[in-house]
């Protein structure tokens, strides 16, 4: 499944990242995100994959002292989203995120999904209603919650909560969606649901996912990047990475000899 012809949605160019304590967590990363494809980031704990993911929506800006160097360029507008003049809020309006642990707001199911629209000053109730329904359908949750949209989100199961978080991220029509180990807190059935959902979602948007689960990367992703100690060791077509890795380190990690 080589897809050399697909467009590039975003790419990291010589990306370095420094935490406020001076630690250099990313070292000169160059990597593309192909449009309407799923790119998986794998690697041992502490290798910088979550750090890399969180550069894409400028999450690091929430904590003082963190520093980016290099670029992440988004297409087709060629905006370097790490540039000082670019407001992180603008970036987050275009790139949404699903976290490791389901983190719904202590609000109703409806309000959770509608929040992104409210932030965007959407006042029309009909529009919000439609968008909420569309997002919940897109997150394969609509049938389970359509009769209890006014229930508190905490009353849902863990897997449902995570799909609710996906619906929340989906309601605002993002161009890219980031998943930070989205299934690590879920049971196998809920995990399978989320994976299936991700494969459906890539029709509409571009996905970058961090995962600890090698099988998951092999199952859902089109491209895979192996990171180690803040460096991108190998990047390529998922089939190639898992069957014919070019580097010894990648092979050792994938086969479980290391990590």
């Amino acid at each position: 499944m080589m897809n050399a012809s697909t467009a590039i949605k975003a790419e990291a160019r010589n990306l370095d990242f420094f935490y406020s304590n001076g630690m250099r967590a990313l070292k000169g990363i160059n990597m593309p995100l192909h449009e309407n494809k799923i790119t998986a980031l794998i690697g041992p704990s502490g290798c910088g994959k979550s750090t890399f993911l969180r550069c894409f929506n400028r999450m690091h800006d929430l904590y003082p002292g963190n520093k980016y160097q290099g670029q992440i360029v988004m297409h087709p507008d060629n905006t370097n989203i790490l540039e000082h003049g670019v407001d992180p809020i603008e970036v987050r309006m275009r790139i949404s995120m699903v976290f490791q642990k389901p983190n719904p707001f202590p609000k109703t199911i409806y309000e959770n999904v509608a929040y992104g629209l409210r932030v965007r000053d959407e006042k029309n109730k009909r529009t919000i209603d439609d968008k909420v329904e569309e997002a919940l359908k897109g997150a394969a949750l609509w049938n389970e919650v359509k009769d209890r949209l006014q229930d508190l989100a905490f009353n849902l199961s863990g897997g449902q909560q995570q799909r609710l978080c996906i619906a929340r991220a989906l309601a605002t029509d993002p161009e890219i969606m980031l998943f930070d180990e989205p299934t690590s807190a879920l049971d196998p059935i809920a995990t399978a649901n989320i994976e299936e959902l991700m494969s459906e979602l890539k029709e509409k948007l571009t996905i970058l996912v961090v995962t600890h689960n090698m099988q998951q990367a092999a199952r859902v992703s089109d491209y895979t990047a192996y990171m180690y100690l803040g460096e991108l060791m190998e990047y390529g077509d998922t089939n190639q990475i898992f069957t014919r890795p070019t580097r010894k380190e990648t092979e050792d990690y994938i086969t479980g000899k290391f990590g």
């Binding site: 999450m59 929430l62 991220a169």
Partner: protein, 314 residues
């Protein structure tokens, strides 16, 4: 297993059991000490309260609440004192809550974290421990003479507001800190600004904790005597301040702010300082009422916190 080995196992087991028994003696010992320590505090308080109730019970009737102070102990009541307390508390609430919550929110959410904000933090915590009479002196110089508010309800309310401000700020900050990072990040991740995160999430989810702090501060303020004496409320008052609400437009008036006044603990102090024993009964009754009020306020705080927290699980 040989019989010899069996015997040694059993002997070991006996030793282990003896050791466990010995260790458990410490459990019992500490439980006993802890219980005594707890009772020491509780029983003293209870005795005090029962004593006040027993002394003051002849005065527990509606008339006690609807009579002005009088030269005759049997006819003296709390009317001007409780109305004064209520109005002073209103001013305290209306000033300390917005200022304290805004300050707490700013410190926690907006202020850069550096040595200066650390300095402010230490000072706010210290202010909570400053003796209340100091606040009285400050108020005397600033509100009574400096701003010319006089010995009024406004001055008393502002003074007590200042007194409980650190409590409100500290409890606001603690309530805000209880909100998980994941919830904030979730809100930022959909594109919210700082103010949207604060107003849509932080304030809402920390309401319970903030409210608790406010009520605990208020129940401290209602019993405060020293600063109120300092600003000159120790007077015999046989009239009520003008009513804050009226039946003619604009329905609200603010003359009461400038009225002189007395409050419950001052009234109690006043009665207690009289030589006639009959007045001491009044004082005991007033004391019991202040304690009940404080208990009620703290009880409300606990109930409200429980009710608000019920819908929030992290």
């Amino acid at each position: 297993m040989t019989t010899e080995m069996k015997a040694s196992v059993l002997k070991n087991l006996d030793a282990v059991r003896a050791m466990i028994r010995r260790h458990k003696r410490n459990d019992i010992l500490f439980a006993a000490i802890g219980l005594i320590a707890l009772m020491l505090g509780l029983l003293t308080l209870l005795t005090l309260f029962v004593d006040l109730v027993m002394d003051g019970y002849p005065r527990f009737n509606l008339k006690f609440f609807s009579d002005f102070p009088s030269r005759r102990a049997g006819e003296a009541g709390l009317l001007s004192a409780w109305v004064g307390s209520a109005l002073v508390m209103l001013v305290t609430f209306l000033t300390a809550v917005p200022v304290g919550v805004a300050a707490g929110l700013y410190l926690e959410e907006y202020a850069p974290k550096n040595w200066f904000s650390d300095l402010i933090e230490i000072n706010v915590s210290n202010l909570a421990g400053v003796p209340s009479i100091i606040y009285g002196l400050l108020a005397l110089g600033l509100f009574v003479y400096g701003f010319g508010f006089g010995q009024s309800i406004l001055t008393a309310g502002l003074t007590l507001g200042l007194l409980i401000l650190p409590i409100v700020i500290v409890s606001t900050r603690e309530a805000i800190r209880g909100i998980p990072v994941a919830i904030r990040e979730a809100a930022y991740a959909v594109g919210a600004t700082k103010w949207q995160v604060v107003s849509d999430h932080v304030v809402k989810y920390s309401q319970g904790g903030i409210l608790t702090g406010v009520i605990i501060g208020m129940s401290r303020a209602i019993g405060e005597t020293a600063p109120i004496i300092t600003i000159g409320a120790l007077t015999f008052i046989a009239f009520l301040p003008p009513s804050p609400v009226s039946d003619i437009a604009p329905y609200l008036n603010f003359e009461w702010l400038h009225s002189s006044f007395t409050v419950l603990p001052i009234q109690m102090f006043n009665w207690l300082s009289r030589p006639d024993h009959a007045f001491h009964i009044n004082a005991a009754a007033a004391g019991a009422i202040i304690i009940v009020l404080t208990l009620l306020m703290n009880g409300t705080a606990i109930y409200l916190r429980y009710k608000i927290r019920k819908n929030i699980k992290w």
